[in-house]
């Protein structure tokens, strides 16, 4: 075993932190308060190369390995970038663009990947429905083939980037009588007749990400917009799990480092009873817990990334363990960080309350903790 990053990877991480602190972090709090997507930051992420880091250079990507890609996510969290922007990045790059990269035709790749990698276009993925969350196979959205077109009908919910996306990967049943095997994936562009989004849903956290319903009302797409073959959709959606359990979890690991630094700064500067509160063991206890969580979670996340770099099929047990740990065990340190800041921790001026709200998504999004436990207990 060897847990070392290469020098290049570590240098890149530092660069991302420097970039994010300068170009993104100064606007985070304002956008969170206004529940607005930060288009400028997203464009800058594209210019820096983060949106398409792992795609080939000829498609506008950075040609990076998975570990470097995951490191970028950790670096954004460590710099203080909010969970809303990193979630938007995740939905855009991994749930949408990566699915297109893997399953679209060459012509479609050339059409979409450069635009998505640069941030010129924003992508989203529509899987969840009002009555089909963890139970994906119960989805009701249908895609009926009519000549050289598919006609899509149905609705999606909780779609990150839904209101702002230029292109979506939409999952629909081409064979409604079948369960998982009846699901297919389609490319649907913004402006396609019959395709629309609802207003931004106000959420507890990750507020700068825009979340909405998507509506498909006799929405016709060309037959070539079917990704892969009919019935391949479920497996495609499962392939995003590798990214979901590594690159999308990495910002939470980075956020724990950010919290630790901010909490330590506050504890050193805040005086009560004639001394800095950092001298109280109860404060050190909280700092220790935040550090321990970050160190514990880090290896779980990078194990998934390393295995992917090795070309190994996803180990679903290890992936579920990583998701469950980051999801459930990140709550306590985020809470500690708020409490350590006292009244200030409860106020928006100090970003601990935002991180606390952003963290709350970890045990819910991308498969709840209960679903992870179902997976683990079945695989045991």
């Amino acid at each position: 075993m060897d847990f070392a990053f290469t020098k290049e990877q570590l240098m890149f991480k530092k660069e991302v932190i420097r970039f994010a602190k300068k170009e993104i972090v100064p606007r985070v709090q304002e956008h969170d308060l206004n529940k607005e997507f930060d288009f400028e930051s997203f464009r800058k992420l594209g210019e820096f190369g983060i949106l398409g880091l792992h795609f080939p250079e000829e498609l506008g990507g950075g040609g990076a390995d998975v570990i470097t890609t995951v490191l970028a996510g950790e670096a954004l969290g460590e710099a203080g970038v909010d969970g809303g922007l990193t979630l938007a990045l995740g939905a855009h790059t991994f749930l949408c663009a990566d699915t297109l990269f893997r399953h679209a035709t060459d012509a479609q790749r050339k059409k979409y990947i450069p635009k998505l990698a640069s941030g010129e276009w924003i992508g989203c993925m529509g899987l969840t429905e009002p009555d089909a969350g963890s139970d994906v196979a119960s989805m009701k959205t249908t895609a009926e083939k009519k000549g050289d077109k598919y006609v899509l009908n149905g609705s999606k919910i909780f779609i990150t980037n839904g209101p702002i996306a230029d292109v979506a990967v939409i999952y629909a049943k081409t064979s409604p009588e079948l369960k998982h095997a009846g699901i297919s994936a389609f490319i649907v562009e913004k402006g396609t007749p019959g395709f629309s989004s609802g207003p931004n849903i106000i959420k507890m956290g990750v507020r700068t990400s825009q979340t909405s319903e998507l509506f498909l009302n006799n929405c016709e797409v060309p037959a070539e917009n079917l990704l892969g073959k009919e019935g391949d959709g479920f497996n495609m959606s499962m392939q995003t799990v590798e990214w979901d359990r590594s690159a999308l979890l990495a910002p939470f690991v980075g956020a724990s480092t950010y919290m630790l630094k901010r909490c330590a700064e506050y504890a050193k500067g805040r005086e009560q009873f004639g001394r800095s509160i950092g001298q109280f063991q109860a404060i050190k206890h909280k700092l220790a817990n935040i550090r321990i969580f970050g160190e514990a979670a880090r290896s779980l996340v990078y194990r998934i990334a390393w295995c992917k770099d090795q070309g190994r099929p996803l180990n679903h047990l290890e992936a579920a363990v990583a998701k469950l740990f980051v999801g459930d065990w990140s709550m306590a340190p985020a809470n500690d960080a708020v409490v350590l800041h006292g009244g200030y921790g409860y106020c928006h001026e100090y970003d601990m309350e935002r991180i606390f709200r952003d963290s709350r998504l970890a045990p819910i999004g991308g498969g709840t903790s209960d679903i992870q436990k179902m997976i683990i207990s079945k695989l045991m």
């Binding site: 050190k284 206890h285 700092l287 935040i290 514990a296 990078y302 469950l324 209960d370 045991m380």
Partner: protein, 378 residues
């Protein structure tokens, strides 16, 4: 980066498991009788000397390092926590003291038989309290010609009642020293063996040194001064990390097997979410602890300056996880888990030791917090 053990490490772990499973099946290492503990420990050391196990972390081994040691510790601790603790406190803590601070003659005298599995050692560190972090050692040696006269009291000495040699930590000329005292030396008085919550197959006792006289050649003077006590604690902490992994592994395995075979309402109980989800949380803690402990071991060999901090973080997490995993295992095993001698029940009792011994979780958290605030450890 590489998240796999090497083939050589895997082969070593399998061989170690087979060898020591056969040994622990034939010799119950969890017996409480002191004489039996001494006999079993010596028998185990002789067996382990057939493998690279005893030398790991002490003398360089081709393709096997500190990370291999952590994996091997997990194997042995899962088979018998008590035997593991006896072996490790002798080999790794006593042995590393000699290796690190001994001269050539001292290494020949103590390290050679130790690595051959022919010597049982103990380190006597703790005094009035279990921790030595905030109090200077009261045990003192005074030079008298070519001899040193030692006076002091020690507590909780693992292997105290069965050790051939004891390394007693104390002060000499105002600096920390380790006094190597042979059993039965005049002035060395072993107190009655302690009855403990867990690790009942490990012999632990306090000792008194009343004008105990040893030749000056039996004194180790650590070059690191006061920091040497921190190093001793770190070695203990690494042993406790290995113990925690083993306890969790054994408890999880027992609970999982039971949940798959024990039926309720016509279904194995693992099919019920109350049980299956508990097992999922346990597995999550086990896997997270494993990676944490392996990473701490890797840092110890790759970047020793960072080792103390990461070891403390891992120790807090792994020891607290061990108690939680053992508790849940006991719960899943239900009535069977509550019966004495059960793997989960034993792990539950032993797990508490890990949070108290070495650097306690309270002191560890204070140190980790101090480091976050900018303090340097050691």
């Amino acid at each position: 980066m590489n998240y796999d053990f090497t083939e050589k490490e895997f082969t070593f772990f399998v061989q170690l498991h087979e060898l020591m499973q056969a040994f622990t099946s034939a010799n119950d290492p969890e017996k409480e009788d002191t004489a039996a503990i001494g006999q079993t420990t010596r028998g185990a050391l002789a067996k382990l000397a057939e493998t690279p196990y005893l030398s790991l972390g002490i003398t360089p081994q081709k393709d096997l390092g500190l990370l291999s040691l952590m994996g091997a510790m997990e194997v042995l601790a899962a088979l018998s926590p008590s035997l593991f603790l006896s072996v490790e406190m002798s080999t790794r803590v006593f042995g590393r003291s000699i290796q690190t601070w001994g001269n050539a003659d001292q290494k020949a005298k103590w390290l050679t038989p130790l690595l051959a599995g022919k010597l049982v050692g103990a380190v006597a560190l703790s005094e009035d309290a279990l921790n030595v972090e905030n109090e200077p050692l009261k045990t003192t040696g005074v030079k008298n010609g070519d001899s040193v006269v030692i006076n002091g009291n020690k507590q909780y000495v693992v292997n105290g009642p069965i050790a051939d040699w004891l390394a007693v930590a104390g002060m000499l000329d105002g600096k920390p020293a380790l006094f190597l005292v042979e059993k039965n030396t005049k002035g060395l008085v072993l107190e009655n063996r302690m009855a403990t919550l867990g690790y009942e197959g490990t012999a632990m006792a306090g000792l008194r040194l009343a004008d105990c006289t040893i030749p000056a050649s039996q004194v180790l003077i650590p070059a690191q001064g006061q920091a040497s006590l921190g190093l001793l604690r770190m070695w203990e902490n690494q042993v406790i990390l290995g113990a925690s992994l083993g306890l969790m592994k054994a408890a999880l395995e027992a609970a999982k097997n039971y949940a798959k075979t024990h039926k309720s309402g016509g279904r194995p109980v693992i099919a019920y979410q109350e049980v299956g989800f508990k097992l999922s949380e346990m597995l999550t803690l086990v896997q997270t602890s494993q990676l944490f402990a392996y990473r701490a071991a890797w840092i110890a060999s790759d970047n020793p300056k960072e080792a103390e901090s990461m070891t403390l973080c891992a120790k807090v997490f792994c020891t607290e996880s061990a108690e939680q995993v053992a508790s849940n295992a006991l719960q899943i095993l239900a009535g069977a888990g509550f019966m004495s001698g059960n793997v989960a029940e034993r792990a539950y009792r032993c797990a508490k030791y890990g949070q108290i011994a070495g650097t306690s979780t309270e002191i560890a958290r204070v140190k980790i917090g101090d480091e976050s605030l900018g303090a340097r450890l050691s």
